[in-house]
Every structure is written in C-alpha cells, then in structure tokens.
C-alpha cells in the first residue's frame, strides 16, 4: 500500500486506453448504431407507406370494378335499346313496304278495272252501234252519230 510510480504508470495507461477508445472504438460503433437506427426508421416508414399504398390500391380496385359494372350495365342497356329500336325500325319498314305494295296493287287493280271498263265501253258502244244498225236495218251515218254513240257509251 505504498504510493509509488505505479500511480503515474496507471495514469499513462489510462490515457492511452481512453485515446485509443476515442479514436478506434467509439466512432465506428456509434456510427453503425446511428446508421442502423436510420435503416430501421426507413424500413418502418417504407412499410407504412406500402400499407397506405395497398389501401389506396384496394380502394382504386373497388372503384374500378364499380365503374366497370356501371359501364357494362350501360352498354347492355344501350344494346337493348338499340335492339328494340332495330325491331321497331324493321316493323316500320315492313309496314311501309306493305303499304307500298298494297298501293301499287290497288293502282294496278284500278288500272285493270279502268282498262276493262274502257274495253267494255268500247265493246258495248260497238255492240250498241251494231245492235242499232241491226234494229234500224240500215246504216247509220257513222260520222253523224258518233257523238251520240260516244255519249251513250259514256253513260254505260
């Protein structure tokens, strides 16, 4: 228990160890600790961001699905409308065509009737003239009585 040079030796050793520690031990290890802290913070941050992104993506997907459904419904509705429109158009066209055919047929019929009437009239006129000639037993002046005969034929 004597105070001696050891006291100085110990102080020197102490100083050397502290300086060594200060230079080669403390900075790298605390640096690594700080870096790891940063890394972990970044990792947690990224995880949180990813979760937020996931939620956003899910919302977006739901929204997309809803939009698609709406669109599909709209398309189907439109198609239905178009179909009924086509049917209506076809009906209309058919009706118009039928009318046209009917009109044409009626016109033809009328024409035929008129033609038959005309023919009949002419034949009746001729018949009348022939009949009258036979009744009268003499020739009637065709020219003088044409007006009369025509008038008769028109009345038929």
């Amino acid at each position: 228990m004597n105070i001696n040079l050891t006291i100085i030796g110990q102080a020197i050793a102490f100083a050397i160890f502290v300086m060594f520690c200060m230079k080669y031990v403390w900075p790298p290890i605390t640096g690594a600790l700080a870096e790891r802290k940063k890394k972990i913070a970044e990792g947690l941050d990224a995880a949180e961001r990813a979760q937020r992104d996931l939620i956003l993506a899910q919302e977006k997907a739901v929204e997309n699905m809803r939009e698609s459904k709406e669109q599909a419904a709209a398309i189907i509705e439109q198609a239905n409308k178009r179909a009924s429109q086509l049917v209506d158009e076809a009906k209309e066209q058919a009706r118009v065509e039928a009318d046209r055919i009917k009109t044409a047929a009626q016109a033809e019929i009328e024409q035929d009737v008129n033609r038959a009437k005309e023919t009949l009239r002419k034949q009746v006129a001729a018949l009348v003239v022939a009949g009258a000639e036979k009744i009268l037993e003499r020739s009637v002046d065709q020219a003088a009585h044409a007006q009369l005969v025509d008038k008769l034929a028109a009345e038929l």
Binding site: M1, N2, I3, N4, L5, T6, I7, I8, G9, Q10, A11, A13, F14, A15, I16, F17, V18, F20, C21, M22, Y24, V25, W26, P28, I29, T30, G31, A32, L33, E35, R36, K39
Partner: protein
C-alpha cells in the same frame, strides 16, 4: 491456505503485498522480497503486478472492442457486436442524461472507465490463491491480481480525471472564471478566504473520493476473500459463494459509480455555477 508453515497474518500480508520493482537503499535495484522492503523503496518503485494486470485487461478491452469496431455492421449484429453495442448504448445513455455539452472525449472516457474498471474488479472473483500459487511456482514471490485493490491504480485514474476536471474548467470558463468560482462562491467576495478553503477542499475531495471509494470497496472485498480462504477448505464455499455472488454486484456497481461520477464531474467542469 497454502501450507501450515505460514501463520494467518503472514498469509494475509503476503496476499496484500504487491510485486514491487525498484531501487532499495540497501539491496539496490530489484524486486522487493518483503512488504517492508517494498515500503522502503519509496516513490521510485513500480508495482509490476498491478501494471501487468491492468494493462493486460486494458489491452483485452481495447482488442475486443476494436475488433468489433473494425467489422461493425449496421445490419444484423453478431453476438460479440451485440454485447459491445449493449455496453456502448448503456454508457451513451448515461452520458447523454448527465452531460449536455459537445465533447467527443467524454463518452469514450466513460466507456473506458466502466469496462476497464469492471474487468480489473472482476479479477477479484478468481479464487485468491490460484494465480499467486502459479506465480509462486514460477518463482515470483508476490502477485496481487486485482489492480483496483492497489491504491496506486485507483489514484492514478482519479488523478487523470482530476487533470481533466482542471483542464476543462479552465478551458470552458477561462483561468479567471475558474479561480473566481473558487474564490467568490458560495458566500461572495467578503468571505474570500473561507470560500477559497471550502471550494478547494471540495475540488480536492473529488479525485480522492473517487480513488478511495473504489480502492476501499475492492480492498475490503479482497480482504474478505482472503479471510474466507483461511478457513478449512471444505467449509470455504459456505461463505465464499455468497460473498462472490454479492461481489458481482459490488464490482459492477463500483465501476458504474466511478463512471457516473466522472461524467458528473466533467459536466460540472463544463458548466458555470
């Protein structure tokens, strides 16, 4: 206990004597053969065992920590790195909670104090006779393996801390500020001599209390181990095991106290009162 030829007091004093190398007034340069001779060598002698063990343990500490520091990774740490990081974070927490200035020296200083003193104290847990017996077989007469039971070791560290206290006090406050603090506090300039006396005693008490607290605790602990070793070998464990378990607390606590007080003193040196 070694043999029946030594008395208890011889055994105890043998275990409490350092391996001292120095110049004896009569026998010249050499190792002291007795405790009395060691004392007669005066100041110009050196306790070889203290220096050897303390430097050896210091090298162990710096080797282990610098090995980790070299391969340190911010990724997943290995076992050793984990252990070292735990210690460093523990010290860093303590420093940050006490010391609020910017000084790159304080934290490494605290770490060195804590780990080094802890390692030196831990030597106390090695059964008291083992290493001295091996040394005796090798022809070395004295071998005290716990450097912190040598007042020189604790005083050497405490004086280093004291030097840092003075250095930072003067650096932060200026020589005038530091002396003013000694002279004009706590009672104002009319009580200058009283202030000076009070403050100087307070200042000197810092290193002395640091050194003596550690030394006293470890010396007493060592002494108890030696006394237990005097019992018959088959009952020693009844006392030595509980005492060793208790001592694990003491060695950690003493290292911790030395570290915390150093940080506190450093913080005081940086602050104006």
């Amino acid at each position: 206990m070694a043999s029946g030829t030594v008395t208890s007091s011889e055994y105890i004093s043998h275990h409490l004597t350092n391996l001292t190398f120095g110049s004896h007034p009569e026998h010249g340069l050499g190792f002291a053969q007795t405790a009395v001779e060691a004392a007669e060598m005066g100041f110009w002698a050196i306790n070889v065992d203290t220096m050897l063990w303390s430097i050896g343990l210091g090298v162990l500490f710096t080797w282990l920590f610098s090995k980790v520091a070299k391969s340190v990774t911010a990724g997943v740490p290995g076992n050793t790195q984990n252990f070292v990081e735990t210690l460093i974070e523990f010290v860093e927490d303590n420093v940050n909670s006490i010391f609020h200035h910017k000084n790159a020296l304080i934290a490494p200083l605290a770490l060195t104090i804590f780990v080094w003193i802890f390692l030196m104290n831990t030597m106390d847990l090695i059964p008291v006779d083992w290493i001295p017996y091996i040394a005796g077989q090798m022809g070395i007469h004295f071998m005290k393996v716990v450097p912190t039971t040598d007042i020189n070791a604790t005083m050497g560290m405490a004086l280093s801390v004291f030097g840092l206290i003075l250095y930072y006090s003067i650096k932060m406050k200026g020589l005038g500020g530091f002396l003013g603090e000694l002279a004009f506090q706590p009672l104002g300039k009319w009580m200058l001599p009283f202030n000076l006396f009070l403050e100087i005693v307070g200042l000197l008490a810092k290193p002395i209390s640091l050194a003596l607290r550690l030394f006293g605790n470890m010396y007493a602990g060592e002494m108890i181990f030696i006394l237990i070793a005097l019992l018959p070998f088959w009952v020693q464990w009844v006392l030595s095991v509980p005492w060793a378990i208790f001592h694990i607390l003491v060695i950690t606590l003493q290292a911790f106290i030395f570290m915390v007080l150093t940080i506190v003193y450093m913080a005081m040196a940086h602050e104006e009162h």
